[in-house]
Point group: C3
Chain length 255, copies 3
């Protein structure tokens, strides 16, 4: 496991600003196996960040899409026989590409939790989840212990986000309460983690940058919104407009 600079929390805003530039310059392809509720919003958020989304979940062709992609998202928001086959085909094709696991609602379905556990064994670069989902999968362990046990980076969303690779940890204080009032915001966050992994090899840095960008975009969007409807649109605009100066001025990063 890499040892990270002690001052990553200080450097993160500048790194995240650079990652934004890399996304816009390289336009990485991100293939998403995600639920149908989240697909449209996720695609538009990826496009706003500079990435190029693809979304097929057909087991017949997903390997070709994954082999043409720079990163993969596996979101369990729908978990049926076909999507399970698609995930397995996608992971068989993923080879060295980074991939993100978003174990949506594993707290609601024991079968889904069991499938998520089997996916943890396939070594995602990052697992992004919320507190209820972590509680189900990690059986009481905190994010750091879970990351160490699963040999991955855990990005735990909440009022304050925590990102940890089991050794180093970062806390991220940006965001807005309206983010919890829009469906698929967490799913889109996981897709942004995948996009950042396509241009930044260190999972902790990539995951923390993605959540930092999302949180700051949320704050910018809140000022342009009249409620959760306009907010879900304004955050796409805000992500598209995000610049380095805003990131550096707004970032609330702790160790």
């Amino acid at each position: 496991m890499q040892t990270l600079p002690a001052d990553l929390s200080v450097q993160l805003p500048a790194i995240a600003a650079d990652i934004v530039e890399r996304l816009r310059r390289r336009a990485p392809r991100v293939h998403c196996v995600t639920n149908s509720v989240a697909q449209n919003f996720t695609a538009n958020m990826l496009l706003a960040a500079g990435a190029v989304p693809s979304m097929t979940t057909a087991p017949e062709e997903i390997a070709a899409f994954v082999r043409g992609a720079d990163a993969l998202l596996v979101n369990l928001g729908t978990f049926d026989a076909e999507r399970r086959a698609a995930v397995e085909a996608a992971l068989a094709a993923v080879e060295g590409r980074p991939w993100v696991l978003d174990p949506v609602f594993v707290d609601r379905s024991p079968d889904r939790a069991a499938f998520a556990r089997s996916l943890l064994a396939a070594r995602p670069a990052v697992v992004r989840l919320n507190r209820a989902e972590l509680g189900t999968l990690a059986a009481g362990a905190d994010a750091r212990a879970a990351a160490a046990r699963w040999t991955t980076t855990v990005a735990l969303s909440g009022a304050t986000d925590v990102v940890t690779d089991g050794v180093a940890s970062l806390s991220l204080g940006n965001g807005h309460a309206l983010m919890a009032r829009v469906t698929a915001m967490g799913c889109a966050g996981s897709a942004l983690v995948a996009a950042c992994l396509a241009v930044e090899p260190d999972p902790l840095t990539a995951a923390a940058s993605a959540l930092l960008l999302l949180g700051i975009a949320g704050e910018q969007a809140a000022g342009a919104s009249r409620g959760p409807g306009t907010f879900a649109i304004a955050i796409i605009d805000a992500l598209d407009a995000l610049d380095g100066a805003t990131i550096r001025q707004s970032a609330k990063v702790g160790a």
Copy 2:
């Protein structure tokens, strides 16, 4: 069948305002088996109303989701072998929970109409539909006669909505022409009926309150819109912002 207060049409605005408070306080879980066109908009409308949506249609796990929910929506907007199995698994798990049937487009597909008829026998608390769909399922009977025959509450959408349990009836005059210009508005209305049923046991009151809230939100949204695109966003904001004073001042309820 319950006998309703003769003056429900007078009391409904105050009751609906109280239901809004109950939704925000209790945050009921509403599981939706709905079509992929409607999923994102429906989820955001439920969140705006204070409810917590889930949307999986995977037959393998839907029973777990239904058992964790407070109400269920069965929307036939897509009707394939998997979704049919999902509906059957959902209803097998629904037990005492209230559920809503939205027989979308049964007027276009005889097979779908036959499936909808079999679901009527499983006793939804409320059936929400439009005139063409009622015509197909009720073979000429009006909403009141259909409700009596099916032993349910019928919520018939139109320029004026009619809600009836076969004995008492209410007419609801709120709404805006733009509501018919946005896809999935009816589907979202049915989901709101399910949300209201989660916090209000009387089906007539719950269904009428849901359609009243939707109609008033539509009127509020129209003033903040430049067309059907902005309207579909503004109605989410309006539902989120709806307060008791607005409901009481705006409600157009008749017997």
Copy 3:
């Protein structure tokens, strides 16, 4: 193959303005077999144009929907066993109705490209695609040669759109860079082609009108947008508000 008036490029704005009126007056039904990412946006764009969308992809019932429709869209944005069966059932029912093929991402998946080639043999009225997709299907031929070989009309999207039936060609210069920053814009464009085919029998005229209307709506929307999020909403409003004077003043049509 019809011979088209030499001055179609001059007449197109007036014809497109008339097609807008026909859409609003006749409200044609357009059945869409399209991917779940695009469904909601496509439905709202069709409604904004005056058409009535339906979207089921269930093989069991799609024939009934197609027989009740005035035009059909076949979009390959998801390509699984069920959707393939749905497409085959839809085409078996399409009879004399015009249909549009949108071979999304055939450049990413050889199986999808092979399926698209088999669909070309079933004679779509119009094939709408981008340069990468044309390159995959036409093996180096340009749009005009591809249209001649496939005996269809090709609508090639790009900074300048080209529409050709293999004999006559039109170039369309309207549009805005934000159109490429929103998911499903091309899919919605193909759906608009299907809508126009429902009210205009000449495929070249219908396809060119659809892309002209979309491009002008995009320009109108750009002025009302702060980024790709608000743009995707504003273009729905703009399509709804489009009038003949705006079309005639804004159109950039070349031979």
